[in-house]
C-alpha cells in the first residue's frame, strides 16, 4: 500500500535521512509520534491542532489508514525518499511547510487589545497564578538572575501530555520573539534544562523548537492575523494546551 503525505515540516525533513530507522512512540486521535534513535520526535498526522515544523502532514483518510496498520513499537525505515513500514510505504513528493519566522509582521497592539476579550481568571490561585508567571517574565530580562530553579518549577508541571508549565513557557518564548526581552543567558539555561528528563518527549520537542523561534501554525497565525478568531483557534488546541500557550503570550506581551 502506497500512501501519500500531504506536506512536511522543515525539521521533520532534516530528520528523514537515508537508512534511518524510527520507532512508533505513541498514538493519538489525530496522529502518532515517531522517534529516531536520539529521541528526536516527528509528529505524523492531521493539521487539526495546526501544522508543526516537526510534523508530517496527512489527510484524515491517510491518517486513518496509517493508524489502522501501525502499532506502538513498530519500526519504520527511511529509504529512497520513502518511509517504509511492513504494511505500507509513504511517499514524499510534497510541499515543505513554510516556517513563519516573520515575527516583525505581528501587530502587538492589536493582540494586546484583543486579549481584553479573553478571560484568564482560571489561572488565579493555581500553580501558575499571574504573579508567579510575571515574576519569571521579569527575571528573564535581568542578566544577573539564575533561573535554574524557576525553570525547574515550570518545566513538566501540570496536567496533560504537554504539561501546563511547558505550554506557558512556549507562550512566553513566542512573546519574546515578537518583542525581544529574554536574555540570551536564560535561553541557554532553558536549552540545557530541556535536555534533562524533566518533561515528556512531546513537550521537549515543542520547547526546543520554541527556543529557536519555531512554532506551530496555530501560534504563528497570530503574527499574520491578530484577530480574536486566531486566538480562539489556538485555544481549541488540546484540552488546555492552546489556552496555556495563549496565557504565556498574554503575560509576556502585557508585562509592563
Amino acid at each position: 500500500m502506497i500512501l501519500q503525505a500531504s506536506a512536511i515540516g522543515s525539521i521533520a525533513l532534516q530528520l528523514l535521512k537515508e537508512e534511518k530507522t524510527f520507532t512508533v512512540h505513541s498514538m493519538f486521535e489525530k496522529g502518532l509520534n515517531i522517534v529516531d534513535r536520539n529521541g528526536e520526535l516527528i509528529f505524523v498526522g492531521t493539521n487539526e491542532n495546526g501544522t508543526f515544523p516537526f510534523g508530517i502532514l496527512l489527510d484524515p483518510q491517510t491518517k486513518q489508514t496509517v493508524k489502522t496498520n501501525i502499532r506502538v513499537g513498530d519500526t519504520l525505515i527511511f529509504r529512497n525518499n520513502r518511509l517504509f513500514h511492513n504494511r505500507f510505504e509513504m511517499v514524499f513528493n510534497v510541499n515543505i511547510l513554510p516556517l513563519y519566522m516573520d515575527f516583525e509582521h505581528a501587530n502587538i497592539n492589536k493582540l494586546i487589545e484583543n486579549f481584553k476579550y479573553i478571560s484568564f481568571t482560571s489561572y488565579e490561585s493555581t500553580d501558575f497564578e499571574p504573579a508567579r508567571v510575571l515574576s519569571l517574565i521579569n527575571k528573564l530580562h535581568d542578566p544577573t538572575q539564575n533561573l535554574d530553579e524557576v525553570f525547574r518549577y515550570f518545566i513538566g508541571r501540570g496536567q496533560g501530555l504537554t504539561p501546563t508549565g511547558d505550554d506557558i513557557l512556549v507562550g512566553i518564548l513566542y512573546g519574546h520573539f515578537l518583542n525581544n526581552f529574554i536574555e540570551f543567558k536564560h535561553l541557554e539555561t532553558l536549552r540545557a534544562l530541556i535536555k534533562e528528563p524533566l518533561t515528556t518527549i512531546v513537550s521537549q520537542r515543542f520547547l526546543t523548537c520554541a527556543i529557536d523561534g519555531v512554532f506551530s501554525s496555530k501560534i504563528t497565525a497570530l503574527q499574520h492575523d491578530p484577530s480574536l478568531e486566531s486566538m480562539e483557534n489556538l485555544i481549541e488546541v488540546g484540552s488546555s494546551s492552546g489556552m496555556d500557550t495563549l496565557y504565556g503570550i498574554y503575560l509576556s506581551l502585557t508585562k509592563e
Binding site: M27, K30, D59, P60, G160, P163, L198, G238, S239
Partner: protein, 585 residues
C-alpha cells in the same frame, strides 16, 4: 491509603486523561485521585497535595501516573479497571462510542466520533425523513429500508449529490465500505476491484467469487434497485463510478445492474467511456451484443467476477462457462422441469435469464405473481419477493417457506432438477445448510421410493471468512445429497444441461462508440468516505451496529422512535421547522 498506578511510556490525548480523572473522582469511596505525567515537577505536586508515595519515585516523565487515595482497598481494583478501559487500545476515542446509545440526532452526533454515514433500517414511511436529517448533518446514507417512494428517492439523491454526499438505497441490501460490511454482506478480502451495483445478491455473488479467486475488493457500493430508473437517473451510480475512477487503489471498475432505462443506460455508458481504467459491466437480463476496447460487457455474474479478476491480474478477459461433470442422476424422459427456489433475488433473475435463453424456442412464458419465471416445465421463484415475505422474515434468515416449496416440488413428477442458493455472510442465518439438509435428504428419498431420481443442486454464496463457514455449509449440503455448484452460473447451466439444453455464450465484435466529454470530478467527501472505515450512526436494526463494530469500525446506535406519536403529517411539519433556514433561532 494511597495507591499508585504507573503506566510506562503511555501517551493519551489530554482530553482522555481529563475524562478518566473525572470518572475516577466520581467512584464512591475514592477520596482523592490525581493523574499526571510523571515529570519531576508533577511528582512535587503529588507530594505537596498529600499524594506522595514511594512508588511515585520510579515514574519517569513519559509515564502516566495515577495516585488514588481511598480507605477501601477493593476500590483500587475498580480504579485499575477504569484505567485499563480508558488507556487500552492505541486509538483513544475508538472505544468510547461503543455501547453508547442515542435517542435523538443531537445525542447521536455527540456520541459518534466524526460520523460520516447513517445506516437506516427503520420502517419505510419514516426512513426518507431520517435520511434527510442525515444529509442535513452532512452524513452519507445507506438505506436498508424499503417502501420509500420514488419521489422521495429522487429528492434525497439530488440533495445528496448537491452536497457531495452519497445515498445508497432505498432497499439497499449490501455494501462494503473500505472493508466494512453493511447489512447483508460477505466478508471479502481487500483488493483492487471496485464495485458498484444496483442489486444486493448480485454484489454478493460477484464479490464472493472474486474473493474465492484470491483477489479482493476496495469498495462495493450499493445504489438500490431503482437508481437506474428514468426518474432517479442513476445519480448514485454515476457518482460512485466517478469515485471509483478517482480512487487510485481501484484498478478495475465493475458495474452491476438490471437492464436500466435506455436513456439512463446511455448516460452510464457515456461516463464509463470517459474512463481509462478497465471496466466490466453487467446489465443482468440483457445478452450483450458487442464488446468495447475498454469496457467488457458480461452476460452473467460469474463472468463479470472472473473477467474483473483477469483484468485485475493484467490478463486478457477470457471466460469459459462450466458445468458440474459426472452428475450421477438418472432422469426419466418425463422429467424435464427445472425448479429454482431462491433467497437471492438477483440470482433468481440470472437463473430465469439463462433458462429462457436455453429454451427460447420451446418456452411460452406464463406471467404469474410471485414467479420470476413460470413456464409449462420450469419455475424460478424469488422467495425474497414481497409476496412471500408478508409478515415473515426474509428467506435468507427463515427457511420455512423454502422448505415448503421444495417438499411440494417432489409431487410434480416432471421435476428433474431443484436449484437452491445459500447466501451466507453478515445478516444471514447462522447455519442455513443444516436447516435445508434434512429436507433435501427427505425429498431425494421419497423420489427414489417412487422410482425416480432427482438432482438437487446447491450453491453457497460466501467466503471462507464468513462466520457460517463456507466449507462447512458446503459439506453439510453435500452430505444431504445435494450436488454443489461453485457459482449460480454453474448451477443453472448444469441444470439446463441435465434436461438437455445449452446456453450459448455470446461471441462478440469489439465496437467503437462516440462519446461526449464528462466531468469526472467527484466531491472530496465521497472520496474520503470510500477511503476509510466509516464512522456510523445506525438508525434501526441493532444487529447492524454489532456487525459494523465487529469489523473494527465505530458505530453509535440511534434507537429511533417516531416523534409526534408517529403522526406522519405532524412529523413532516416538525421536520420542516427544524431545518427551516429562513428564520432565526
Amino acid at each position: 491509603m494511597l495507591y499508585t498506578i504507573i503506566k510506562e511510556n503511555t501517551y493519551k490525548d489530554s482530553i482522555v486523561l481529563m475524562l478518566l480523572s473525572n470518572k475516577l473522582s466520581a467512584i464512591d469511596g475514592v477520596n482523592k485521585v490525581s493523574i499526571m505525567m510523571g515529570t519531576p515537577a508533577n511528582k512535587d505536586i503529588f507530594k505537596s497535595s498529600g499524594l506522595g508515595t514511594d512508588e511515585l519515585e520510579k515514574a519517569k516523565p513519559n509515564d502516566i501516573v495515577i495516585v488514588v487515595d481511598t480507605d477501601q482497598e477493593e476500590k483500587v481494583a475498580e480504579v485499575k479497571e477504569e484505567v485499563e478501559v480508558a488507556l487500552k487500545g492505541e486509538s483513544d476515542s475508538q472505544d468510547t462510542s461503543k455501547g453508547q446509545e442515542a435517542h435523538n440526532w443531537k445525542r447521536a452526533m455527540e456520541l459518534a466520533n466524526n460520523p460520516n454515514l447513517a445506516l437506516i433500517s427503520i420502517p419505510g414511511q419514516y426512513a426518507a425523513m431520517e435520511a434527510e436529517n442525515a444529509l442535513n448533518e452532512g452524513l452519507h446514507v445507506f438505506m436498508f429500508s424499503d417502501n420509500v417512494s420514488k419521489e422521495d428517492e429522487v429528492k434525497l439523491k439530488q440533495k445528496a449529490h448537491e452536497k457531495g454526499l452519497l445515498v445508497m438505497g432505498p432497499d439497499c441490501g449490501t455494501a462494503l465500505i473500505h472493508g466494512v460490511p453493511l447489512a447483508f454482506t460477505n466478508n471479502v478480502n481487500e483488493g483492487d476491484i471496485g464495485i458498484v451495483g444496483a442489486s444486493g445478491t448480485g454484489i454478493q455473488e460477484v464479490t464472493t467469487i472474486i474473493d474465492r479467486y484470491g483477489k479482493g475488493v476496495t469498495n462495493a457500493l450499493g445504489t438500490g434497485g431503482r437508481d437506474l430508473s428514468t426518474e432517479v437517473g442513476a445519480i448514485t451510480m454515476l457518482d460512485s463510478i466517478k469515485a471509483l475512477n478517482q480512487d487510485p487503489k481501484v484498478k478495475v471498475i465493475t458495474v452491476i445492474s438490471k437492464p436500466p432505462a435506455e436513456e439512463v443506460q446511455r448516460k452510464v455508458l457515456n461516463v464509463l467511456r470517459n474512463i481509462d481504467k478497465p471496466v466490466v459491466t453487467l446489465f443482468l437480463g440483457d445478452k450483450p451484443s458487442y464488446q468495447e476496447e475498454n469496457i467488457y460487457h458480461a452476460y452473467t455474474l460469474e463472468e463479470a467476477a472472473v473477467v474483473a479478476v483477469q483484468l485485475s491480474n493484467g490478463d486478457k478477459p477470457n471466460f469459459e462457462p462450466t458445468t458440474v461433470r459426472n452428475v450421477n442422476v438418472l432422469l426419466k424422459d418425463s422429467q424435464v422441469g427445472i425448479k429454482g427456489y431462491y433467497s437471492g433475488g438477483t440470482l433468481a433473475t440470472e437463473a430465469a435469464m439463462l433458462v429462457k435463453d436455453a429454451f427460447k424456442d420451446e418456452i411460452s412464458e406464463e406471467k404469474k405473481d410471485g414467479y420470476i419465471l413460470k413456464t409449462k416445465n420450469h419455475e424460478i421463484i424469488d422467495l425474497g419477493d414481497d409476496v412471500y415475505t408478508q409478515g415473515k422474515p426474509h428467506p435468507m434468515i427463515d427457511p420455512e417457506n423454502r422448505i415448503e416449496m421444495i417438499e411440494k416440488s417432489v409431487n410434480d413428477p416432471k421435476t428433474a432438477v431443484i436449484m437452491i442458493d445459500n447466501v451466507i455472510g453478515n445478516g444471514g442465518h447462522e447455519d442455513m445448510a443444516s436447516e435445508l439438509a434434512p429436507t433435501i435428504k427427505r425429498i431425494l428419498n421419497s423420489a427414489r421410493q417412487e422410482g425416480r431420481e432427482l438432482a438437487v443442486l446447491a450453491t453457497v454464496v460466501g467466503t471462507a471468512q464468513d462466520i457460517q463457514g463456507y466449507d462447512k455449509q458446503i459439506d453439510t449440503l453435500k452430505e444431504s445429497g445435494a450436488i454443489i455448484c461453485k457459482t449460480n452460473d454453474q448451477m443453472v447451466r448444469t441444470a439446463i444441461q441435465l434436461v438437455g439444453g445449452k446456453v450459448e455464450q455470446p461471441i462478440l465484435d469489439v465496437q467503437k462508440f462516440e462519446y461526449t466529454q464528462e466531468d469526472l470530478v467527484v466531491d472530496e467527501k465521497i472520496m474520503s468516505f470510500i477511503n476509510m472505515k466509516p464512522s456510523v450512526i445506525n438508525i434501526g436494526l441493532k444487529s447492524f451496529t454489532e456487525a459494523v463494530q465487529n469489523s473494527g469500525s465505530e458505530c453509535v446506535q440511534f434507537n429511533w422512535r417516531p416523534i409526534a406519536g408517529g403522526d406522519e403529517k405532524l412529523m413532516k411539519v416538525l421536520q420542516f421547522l427544524n431545518y427551516y433556514e429562513g428564520g432565526t433561532i
